[in-house]
Amino acid sequence: MLEYIGDIFHHFVDPKKRIFLGYLGLSIVIALLWLVFFKKKGLKSALFKVFDKKILLSGSAISDYKMFLINRVLMLVLSPYLLTQLAVATFFYYSLLSIPLSGLISLLNDTPAIVVAILFTFVFFTFDDFTKYWVHRWMHKWPVLWALHKVHHSAETLNPITVYRTHPLEGILFSFRGAFSQGTVISTFFFIFGDKVDLVTILGVNFLVFSFHVAGSNLRHSHIDIKYWVWLEKILISPAQHQLHHSLDERHYDKNFGAALAIWDWIFGSLHHSEDIDNLILGVEDNDFDPTSITELYLKPMKEISDIAAESLSSFKSLNKIFKI
């Protein structure tokens, strides 16, 4: 039993995870520095702002915490059945070996191991981020997927735990995405460079992921609207840019899908720079959806999906009647 409790809260002590206590601590420091030096607040009022009870103990936040607990238990049960990146990597590796490319490969034999490791680390991170962008974009575009992703967007206040405000079915989709993107990169690199492939790490974490978290990734889901310079917001998503992604204002719809990198939004035309809005209103436009009800958060998306399925089935049937297929 104690072991299970340890597993549930393990993310707080795992540097691979965003809510690792070290990253959370650093995020608080960054938030205070921002408020004191850029927003010219006194330290005391900055502290009050960071630990604002109205944000951290709002009904929406409480439902985030509940979802964190429930989802952790669910994922612990489900994870042995999910596709792993190793399974994908093995599968791709087998298919790659049947391609006659040995000539090209031996050309690359002299690449120093450190260069291979750095290249792998960059490609791995960038490709993973790229697939996150597209999956997120689809989550907004396709009604069935939006029914799931809406759960995340129903948050009316943001705090670091809001990352876990995710419908479990969406979580499963995300794990497929991860297995696919990571498995293909791992196998391709192994095919080309053999056992020279390695990951550049700090505290056992991909150093780019580590940098992302150290730089305050937790503040994306917070009320501290840190903005970057305009040029930097085209490369990295600032906390304020992701908060804007959560905005209820129609002008902000379908903007800033990026996870860490903003370049995808920039290239594919969904970039929106941060704005000087003091109180961004967050959430989704949906009157019969209570963002604080756990049962609704888990069950409503299922109902919505089955409604969509039933609707398309009936329109398919009427098409059948018209065309007498």
Partner: protein, 224 residues
């Protein structure tokens, strides 16, 4: 006893072949057990000792049905573990052949080639040994023989594919090196799936799986 072919246990200056020498598969069994993931050597030896105790205990009389059943149990243990030891050897040498090909692809030397040929020979030998047990491996044997081939793929990508009526080997442009490497991986996979090998010497996908665990699992319900 771990990974030792011969030990002069009673220190009489000679190795007694009846009590101080590990023959063939027993030697392999102990070498696999060194990794700590398996316990083939002791399991098999113990089953032999326990079985012998039952037979000796009968003092020349007929075995009772419960004694017979117990004896059959020990025989099954020996059978299963012996087979696994041979499958482990197939696994290990398929990995050796794979590594040898990688070396040959980088640059050719006569020495590297003879190592490659030797390892292929070991692989073939164990693959055949696996098929001489009492149970028919059926489809697994067919796959294993096809993947191993009748000879190693040579530098010009040709391979012995048969014997003609006059007894000469037929060599043909058979498969690419890449394909032959893939066959070695498939042999390793077959040994894991059909025989549940655990020691896995020369596991060619071990590096990939350790890297996969280094990057961390991809399963978590998080909205970045």
């Amino acid at each position: 006893m771990k990974d030792m072919a011969a030990v002069d246990q009673n220190k009489d200056g000679v190795v007694d072949l009846k009590s101080e020498y590990n023959f063939a598969h027993a030697y392999y069994a102990s070498s696999f057990d060194k990794g700590g993931k398996t316990n083939y050597y002791n399991t098999v030896t113990q089953a032999f000792l326990d079985g012998r105790k039952i037979i000796a205990g009968a003092k020349g009389e007929k075995l009772s049905s419960s004694e017979k059943a117990a004896l059959q149990g020990h025989i099954a243990v020996i059978n299963a573990n012996w087979e696994k030891v041979i499958a482990e050897s197939v696994f290990k040498y398929a990995g050796s052949v794979y590594k040898d090909i990688v070396k040959l692809e980088e640059n050719y030397s006569d020495k590297a080639f003879s190592t490659y040929a030797k390892h292929w020979g070991e692989l073939k030998g164990f693959a055949l040994a696996l098929q001489t047990g009492k149970s028919n491996l059926g489809e697994t044997a067919v796959k294993l023989n096809r993947l191993t081939g009748m000879g190693p793929v040579l530098m010009n990508a040709s391979q012995v594919t048969g014997v003609d009526s006059a007894g000469n080997y037929i060599k043909e442009e058979a498969q690419s090196w890449g394909e032959f490497k893939l066959h070695m991986l498939k042999i390793q996979k077959l040994m894991v799936e059909k025989f549940g090998v655990k020691a896995k010497g020369n596991d060619m996908l071990a590096d990939m799986s350790s890297l996969a665990s280094k990057v961390g699992s991809s399963d978590s319900a998080e909205n970045d």
